[in-house]
Subunit: 959 residues, 2 copies
């Protein structure tokens, strides 16, 4: 086994076991600690644990030299010798130089030099070596060990000067940490202490993050280290600590409860008016305690336990109170931390009521522009569900201190909680966060990741994006498929063959898309229609594919990545797919039970098995690898009926009693209608599927509703109807494919077939079929069948740019895979004369009013005015500009519309439009920013569209 630093035709450097790390005494202790981790990484890859020395005189033939400008004599020496050029790092944050240097020092044939412009630059540089060796940033956290290598080769081409991160502070928020994170920490480290946090810090740093809001539900970062140990360690390792949105002055929300009291110097009320002195002292002591560490200090004040600061007061009183608080806090910081406030990173989070205090209203000016906010980063936030809320207007972007974003990948709150396994759909993260960046939100990005465990994929994407907007930002849409592939390879390259790696990426895409469509917690048997448009069937098939493929992969999975595979992929994906499947089965169980199908009873049994399976895979997660992941599956995840898990309910299992006489139940697979073939109650059915030119077959179900199995026979004299089967017996159900032979059709025709069955049942089925001549229509012309026209947004017939902006196709994106959105994303066309547009062509069967539904991403207004306008135009009609916001008199966030859109992950704007028989032209104009059009569905006013979640299947269109 050997470790090779560099190899090229002209210049090969081989180091066997003799490789050394030079751990300078002058280096940051944190940097040396990171170097130790990198040495461990080398051991994981090569089985050789490199030594370190601190004696410059005895450096080895092959040495890794690392350090930070200003804290490394050896770097200065090499720089002075012009062997390296440190000046490239000047004035930049968190950058490093990474290069091979031949014979830099006596006795050293070749050195790998990692020079950081600052502490974190060095650390990122060190971890860059791990990455180059194929070590995952999750090596420690998720236990995905790298594949062993006989040799690791670096040649001169490895030389880089790293980029400066795009966003200044990039981090995570551990939140809602019980029962998962808390139990995990307790089991593995005895508590949420420094030992535990070391892993969190490492996770962040390996992802080139730098920022953390620590857990705060029932723990105190500054007390539980024990003591300040966690804070000290964070500072040592270069983690910038902050606190959550409602915990000012580096003290956690829980801390006050511990020190308050009748006789306490801090008083006994969390009230800035009645206990001003006590509160100020409380804050001051927090600032004093943590002033030596690298922090971003939270400013402002809220009520206890994340509630509003002052109830029953006017807006003006509230604003004045917050202004007072800010003044006091700024003064405390000047007195205790740094007289130059500009050198003290501070933030205020414009969350819930604070947002209103910031903007004010018509009568009351808000805090916006207040000098006390000067230099404070204004933290905006998303709508709890991954869509940004207000973003800075052009004018606001001038604010000194800039803007941050508090984003959610986990939520314990409204509109609904989602706290189980990672459910982040990264195309949305890209779309929303790249837009936020374009709007100037560039100073702090912090993401609530709940318990961290199982959220790693989303964390990776978020921190990567924050680090490198040049490569992954708005100029590079649709980068998530590539990212996913690379991420999967980062974890498992070498452990699986390429086909399997590709499938793992697909699994991640599929399962997170399931979550994007509907979060685990609020999935239930009523979400997807059990049969209409096959949407439940598709989900079932996808779920089964994920479950089966994951189980195949699990079988193959090498032991050294097994824990990571299980936690990152298997548990999240299979857990999700199994949950979705369970609800689909429940939905069918309910429908089929109501129809008296005996199949219902098998489904009920299967539901039980699915629930048991959910428990068993959680059990494996919790015991795996010496309970490394214990607790991460503990969150309730089935059947939320409230905003949180209280009173959640698993699916019901419904059993039907068999009929006393043989009963045949005939139905199309995608329809709730069924027929038992009894004359007196009506034994006729009519199918018109074959009127649609691209439908050649339909699926017929012949199900048993009785104790006794049923026999059936299918007969017809229709020459153009074929059946995959025409005779059978079943005690559950048979599926018969009924297909049309259009070559035998003369035009629009009706055929009849009969399903005769036990107990003299006879179902008489009329089938309409057509082979229309569509040659007169232009390509991309949709044709109405089945009473509706459904068009995916990217199937426009034409589009037009305006004002330097144009629609861009986003894919994968949204519930149904695609959307059209205008870039640059901050462009607003409300006042513009020309606007970007999309044009759709479709043929309707009749003149008349049509109900048109525009399906859009459930985004929220970017301004504080509750406006999201779209423009629409039918045929030669006028362009209508409509606000998609239902009620502009109430704040969008927490509005009914917000809640509904958050549940369904879709914004649907309905409009009546007058269509004419024949070809119609529908234009969609971009007006307000932040609109992503996914689909358009229309149907004649009198037609009642079948219920569904995702909407009807796309209609046929001419190609």
């Amino acid at each position: 086994m050997k470790f090779v630093l560099g190899k090229s035709t002209t210049d090969i450097l081989e180091i066997t076991s003799s490789i050394l790390f030079y751990a300078e005494k002058e280096a940051f202790s944190g940097v040396n600690k990171i170097a130790d981790k990198v040495r461990r990484d080398i051991e994981l890859v090569t089985d050789v644990y490199p030594n370190k020395i601190d004696d410059k005189e005895n450096l080895g033939k092959y040495t890794v030299i690392y350090g930070t400008i200003g804290y490394s004599p050896i770097l200065d020496e090499l720089n002075n010798k012009k062997l390296i050029n440190l000046s490239v790092l000047d004035g930049k944050r968190e950058v490093y130089l990474f290069q091979l240097v031949e014979s830099p020092l006596p006795g050293v044939e070749c050195a790998l030099v990692i020079a950081g412009g600052d502490k974190r630059g060095t650390i990122y540089g060190l971890f860059h070596l791990s990455e180059l060796m194929g070590v995952s940033p999750l090596v420690d956290w998720s236990g995905v060990h790298p594949a062993k290598k006989a040799e690791v080769v670096l040649d001169k081409s490895c030389q880089i000067i790293s980029k400066e991160p795009s966003v200044k502070y990039r981090g995570i928020f551990i939140n809602d940490e019980w029962p998962a994170f808390g139990n995990w920490a307790k089991k593995n480290f005895g508590g949420i202490n420094a030992e535990c946090y070391e892993h969190v810090f490492e996770l962040i740093l390996r992802h080139k993050g730098n920022y953390l809001w620590p857990a705060m539900w029932a723990s105190d970062f500054n007390l539980d280290g024990p003591g300040l140990k966690s804070a000290e360690l964070a500072d040592e390792l270069g983690i910038v600590m902050s606190t959550s949105h409602h915990e000012p002055c580096m003290r956690s929300g829980e801390e006050y409860g511990k020190v308050r009291g009748k006789d306490s110097i801090y008083g006994d009320t969390w009230d800035f008016q009645s206990n001003r002195e006590g509160i100020i002292r409380f804050w001051e002591d927090g600032l004093k305690r943590n002033k030596d560490f690298e922090n971003v200090i939270t400013m402002g004040m809220r009520g206890e336990s994340d509630t509003a600061i002052m109830q029953n007061a006017t807006l003006e009183e509230n604003i004045q109170l917050v202004r007072d608080v800010l003044q006091v806090q700024n003064n405390l910081i000047k007195e205790n931390v740094n007289t130059n406030l500009d050198q003290v990173p501070r933030q205020i989070v414009l969350f819930t009521e604070v947002e209103e205090f910031f903007y004010g209203n018509e009568n009351t000016p808000g805090l916006i522009g207040d000098p006390e906010l000067d230099g404070i980063t204004l933290m905006l936030s998303d709508n709890n569900h991954g869509y940004t809320r207000t973003l800075p207007t052009e004018k606001m972007r001038e604010h000194k201190g800039g803007y941050g974003m508090y984003y959610h990948m986990d939520m314990h709150g409204g509109a609904h909680s989602y706290q189980w396994v990672g459910s982040t759909y990264i195309p949305k993260v890209w779309e929303q966060m790249s837009m936020a960046y374009d709007y100037g939100v560039r100073d702090i990005w912090v993401v609530n990741v709940g318990d961290i465990g199982t959220q790693e994929f989303g964390i990776s994407y978020f921190l990567n994006l924050a680090y490198d907007m040049e490569a992954m930002g708005a100029t590079n849409p649709n980068n998530t498929v590539d990212f996913t592939k690379k991420w999967v390879e980062q974890q498992f390259k070498g452990a699986f063959e390429q086909k399997d790696l590709d499938d793992i990426a697909l699994i991640m895409e599929k399962y997170t898309l399931m979550c994007e469509r509907r979060k685990h917690e609020i999935m239930n048997d009523k979400v997807y229609h059990s049969v209409h448009f096959g949407e439940a069937e598709n989900l079932l098939n996808e779920s089964n594919w994920v479950i089966n493929r994951c189980n195949d992969l699990k079988e193959k999975c090498p032991e050294y990545v097994y824990p990571g595979f299980y936690e990152l992929i298997f548990y999240t994906a299979v857990g999700t797919a199994n949950l979705m499947k369970t609800w689909v089965l429940a939905s069918r169980n309910a429908l089929y039970a109501r129809q008296n199908r005996m199949e219902a009873n098998l489904l009920a049994d299967e539901i039980s098995k699915c629930i048991a399976y959910d428990r068993s895979i959680t059990e494996e997660l919790h015991t795996l690898d010496n309970h490394k992941f214990y607790g991460f599956g503990l969150s309730e995840h089935f059947g939320f009926t409230q905003w949180c898990e209280d009173d959640n309910k698993y699916p019901l299992r419904i059993y039907a009693e068999p009929a006393n006489h043989p009963r045949i139940i005939v139905a199309k697979s995608d329809s709730e209608q069924y027929n038992i073939g009894k004359h007196w109650i009506g034994n006729r059915m009519k199918f018109d599927d074959f009127l649609r030119p691209d439908v050649d077959s339909i699926q017929l179900e012949i199900a048993c509703g009785s104790k006794e199995p049923i026999q059936y026979r299918i007969t017809t004299e229709c020459p153009w109807l074929n059946f995959s089967k025409d005779l059978g017996e079943t005690s559950v159900k048979d599926i018969v494919k009924v297909s049309v032979d259009r070559s035998k059709l003369k035009g629009k025709e009706e055929g009849i077939f009969y399903v005769e069955g036990s107990d003299d049942a006879k179902v008489i089925i009329t089938v309409e079929a057509d082979k229309p001549d569509l040659s007169s229509y232009e390509p991309m012309t949709f044709v109405e069948y089945d009473g509706y026209i459904a068009m995916e947004a990217d199937h426009y017939a034409a589009k037009g740019a305006a004002g330097g902006a144009d629609f861009v196709k986003l894919s994968p994106y949204g519930r149904t895979g695609v959307a059209m959105k205008v870039y640059p994303s901050a462009a607003d066309f409300m006042e513009a004369e020309e606007r970007p547009w999309l044009e759709y062509h479709f043929v309707t069967n009749k003149d008349g009013i049509y109900d048109v539904a525009f399906y859009m991403a459930p985004s929220t207004p970017v301004d504080n005015e509750q406006n999201m306008y779209i423009g629409t135009q039918i045929n030669e009609g006028a362009v209508n500009i409509n606000n998609t916001v239902w009620d502009t008199s109430t704040r969008y966030f927490t509005s009914h519309q917000w809640g509904q859109e958050a549940h369904n992950t879709i914004k649907i704007y309905n409009k009546k439009m007058e269509c004419k028989k024949g070809v119609n032209v529908l234009r969609f104009y971009n007006v307000s920013p932040n609109i992503s059009l996914e689909r358009i569905v229309l149907h004649a006013e009198a037609v009642k569209l079948l219920e569904s979640y995702l909407g009807p299947k796309e209609s046929f269109f001419c190609k």
Copy 2:
């Protein structure tokens, strides 16, 4: 063992085994056959089978002499000797003289003389002897054997001259006879033949009926005897045969199918226009064949299989066609049966479209008054559900031929079928049929009794009523409780002790009331609300009482009445109660499953058991007594979803998955609201039951929703609240009685109690209580609580008569036990100045508009104008006259209102009325006939009344 004919202090006649029946040669053979049956009855009672002799010279010391005037020399002789007086029978139908005569003939010490004025008079007289001995009219049919007696005593007091029956033809219709009656006959007699019919005839005769419409679904009375045997036997035994409403000229509907054909002399089309000659010949041959028997000939014509006679024709064309048919038929009868048409009993049934032909419409005069109808009994009918439809107006009553009624106790048709066990609620039969009688419907009463089996109780009542209107008619309301007791004693006196007999009567009342409220077939889990107002709980308790009591009685039941007990009582009552129970369990199962109560799963298991029990009691019915009742349980009876049994569905069984953490579920027994005691989703409840002065306690349920059992503790500081239990643990549920101690109340107060449970659950319950001073209110003043006022009709404060008519309380009657109806029933007050009224007093809490619902029996308009008016008046307001018919433009029968009322057995008329705070006076005026007021329920417009089937519990009223 001895048989004693007569015994008194002065005059005792003892006959031991030597008793003789004198079977005169001159007697009707049928009469002698009946005498044989009576001899068998004597044997059943005494174990002695009396001999018969036909030799007048050797009559025994004690002889039963029976005969029919004109066919009995011995009666003539006794009459001539003035030993009896036959003249009392002169000119009367179906009467008999029944008396003891001392030494009537040489060698005869004492004779029992039974002298009939006609054949049926004699037969009824003979069976009168059986009845006096305690032999049930069901002795043969249901196998209820009489108790053995050491002696049977008749003394002079037994002498009677029987009354003339009130209704001329009194009979039944065997209909919808598959699968039950048909299988029964096939199993026991090889078919629906003379052997089978003999039992039917006996059943009718023993009930003093005389009339039959035979089975006609797939059988021919005149062909299957074999041959004419059934018809001959009917005639011999004095049964007047007829045919159902659409089978003219004594030929069954099926017959034509057997003789039609290309080359048939009857042609091949059931069409009076295109095959006039063939049809006429068909009818003529029928008339010739059956002319020697006693018949009521059905006139008119309908289409095949009970459909309209002529589709696609105008009303006038149809009427003309029917007129033509009648003329032809009358002529055929004159030619082939009797030239004097007045001597030929004929009927026409005004069913479905024929009703319209009879009445005509605005533009087209109907058949009414047509000379061809002269002498033909016009058969009216009920609405398929036991409520008469049009009744003869005063003018119509002059029609020569009179009126008949085709009534239903079994239905295969709309609004819904009911064909399983007897479900007739006899108070309704009394109310509707006594009214029909008062309206002049006195010539024919025929009741569709489906399969006969299990319908015996209803048959008995119907035929008794038809026989004796003097004793049981309109002048004697509320006779059904007595009737039921007597009927039970008729079957089981001696077999059970009196308490048990009383309970059997109660069982019959209770189970038929269940059916009255909702027929078996259309009962389901959505009918009664699972918890509101305890209506489902009450039904469950009633059902359990019936099931348990019947099983006790079954244990005790002597073998000699066991078959009858099982068929008449046990199977019908337990079958009903078990069915009702099953659905109540299903309703609760669904509710509790949705609440995640583990109790739901036990209920689901119990539903399975109930369904199995239904099957097992049916199995016993079918095998009992050498399959005597085989088939009578075969009709589908669970979960009709259509008008007939096709696609019927048993209840679903729903299983809930236990929650992962201990979950306490707190609810009031009568409320769907529940609370799991979790702060973040709301853990407060409020109960206001104690505001109602007559409510002292409420029932609290503490249920388990989790795998683990739950512990709970109830605490309070409220001095006036008491708990039957304040600590417990359960894995299903505990019931805690919460009671108020009003002596500790100061007035209206609020108390709080806490239910604390596992997993830190805490439910905070506020209880309102009051002890209002109601002394200022008059007796019979209702007081609003719980948002509504519900008043039973008989709890009026005052009432007034008018025009010789007054409200009479009917009880038991209707869904909730009582109704008020005006008698004489044919009185119409539409044009009257004074109308009978009822006055209700109630106190409301607020001024304002109230929704007032008048609950009435689901009767139908007696005229052909779709009018059923009621009058209402609130306080000093005007009297409003409103039509309770929703849509007067359509025929009531088959209207939507008819269907809904038939399902729910209630007519609800809603009206908005302005009430004032304080005492209000509401008057209800009788306007149209046939209205029975059951309840009045009102609530403020803004109050949403809790869902229920029977409506809210009656409100508190001052006594």
